[in-house]
Symmetry: C2
Subunit: 342 residues, 2 copies
Amino acid sequence: MSNDKEITIYDIAKHLNISPTTVSRGLKDHPTINKNTRKKIAETAKELGYRSNTFASSLRSKRTNTIGVIVPRLNSYFMSSAIAGMESVANEEGYNLIISQSLESVKKEIANANTMFNNRVDGLLVSLAYDTVETDHFKTFVDKKIPVVFFDRANESDDFMSILIDNYKAGYETTKHLLEQGCKRIMHLGGTRVRNVYADRWKGYKQALKEANIGYEESLVLVSSLNEQSGKDAAKHILKMHKKPDGIFAANDAAALYCMLGLKAAGLHIPDDVAIAGFNNDPFCQIVEPNLTTINYPGYDMGKAAAGNLIGHLNGSSNLGTTNKIVLRSELIIRASSLKKV
Amino acid sequence: MSNDKEITIYDIAKHLNISPTTVSRGLKDHPTINKNTRKKIAETAKELGYRSNTFASSLRSKRTNTIGVIVPRLNSYFMSSAIAGMESVANEEGYNLIISQSLESVKKEIANANTMFNNRVDGLLVSLAYDTVETDHFKTFVDKKIPVVFFDRANESDDFMSILIDNYKAGYETTKHLLEQGCKRIMHLGGTRVRNVYADRWKGYKQALKEANIGYEESLVLVSSLNEQSGKDAAKHILKMHKKPDGIFAANDAAALYCMLGLKAAGLHIPDDVAIAGFNNDPFCQIVEPNLTTINYPGYDMGKAAAGNLIGHLNGSSNLGTTNKIVLRSELIIRASSLKKV
DNA sequence: TTGAAAGCGCTAACAC
DNA sequence: GTGTTAGCGCTTTCAA
């Protein structure tokens, strides 16, 4: 068993005096094989230390049991949760995950998509890079009938299925909550409107203002990449404003957090001077003081849903053609950062 | 190009009236191929929409260009950083990453290792599960000369290379720092001593006490799985103690954090009543109040080092046989949680 | 319920 | 510098 020689189905066949075909079938529980034969095959396989050769199998069957995953960045709480969710489903269903990150660059996203394509993945799970507009680099998959599922950061095309939360509603509810707390000048820290998630959150924000008869002010909306630096910059910007906002809705938690820390450091009181809400429910929301109001965003479930649907489709049980969009629940979690004293 | 028919090297060969072998060689820049021929091959490949078939190639060459990764959990800051580091190196070198998580269970770790083995990974990167003692499930890899590299959570065997930080030194220095702050009764929140990382941190702690002529008290050492709950439990435990500790060295940040929050909530003052230090430098260390003293632990670099060394070995440039252990720099970062007022 | 034969697309070995 | 030949290990007809 610890030798160099690899055991093949031929060895098993010879051992049992049956044909390789039967062995092949027996190994994958083909229904037409006699129970007894099947058992013998399994035993001999174990005894001889057989392991199946996935390449030979893939070469012949044109299936790889591999799913490609392309994400902007691996090391965020949301993304690692999503991937953990995918892994749990994939592992259970006998699929492998090949993972790569675009580092928020379309160029790298395209390169990664090509690698995945060349690696003949059975399907693809994608969360788009910050600045991806065209999704032609996934057309090759569509042409070859390789299913592509977008999660979180999707685009509007009908060619691809997507797993999302209702970002519009979440943006709307967060803004409405701030209004209910008495905010009159609500600032929005948003991301690029090229990305559905940020565009929708912004639209929800606008709608809530409109319903409250508050005019939309372009100067109260900052678009950035929503990272630590963006949050700090936003704080600096606010501190210089003549008419400061009394509420902030940030499109992610990192921006909300670092903006809040910047404002606090300058002596502003949260939430009395400025109420703040973020988006994602990163763990640090419950650590920072005051705790950060945010939208709870089910990363793990989203990963599970994305992988589950893709695999379901690959196994023929579900059909991506009919289901085009799955919207997961999200919820506003109100914490001290936005709760003005009564 | 959008047809079903896959282009093979035979199609290219026919197109150019040369042999498939030449095409194969030309495609991978084999030195003995004429520059002109090579160029023509590349052009035709592009024109015809050729994509290499990795299975056929792997089947023949017995190389997969795939690296397996087994980690306890994907969704921690340290681990996602490490994986991001691996991905960056692997991608650059033309390797794919297959990733799976053991969820801290040996049983699942064994299953994952077998899957990796069956998938014929060229090499394996592993961080062991919480309770893994025996590493026989990696012996199969050794037997087949498939290199295995442990990172962070390693074991002592000489069969495997490992990438680590000096946990003993880090534990020693952290404890020493607490002693220098005037702590006399330092509690240690540790993990299982089966795991090198926790055992070494604990040994460092003991050594520092010894040098300060402070007796080691078993009752001041709590062993747990070091998660959020463990931290909370530790806080409860401490609050019930008659002689409370005046310093805490936790073997990870999560335990330190939630213990600190628990103590704070009960009215204890950090660091004056109890000084606290964690381990890992998770981002929240700089968010919580007071900021948490900790050991900075280079996840991304560790991932890069692990993947880099493995790939270097696979490409024949480095030799895992000679290098057996790589120790990366780590450093104590002193923050407010342990800095008693002078 | 089982088997024989062919071939998936590539590359290693050996020739020229 | 290029070509011929053979075969990696499996699955898929088709036949029995």
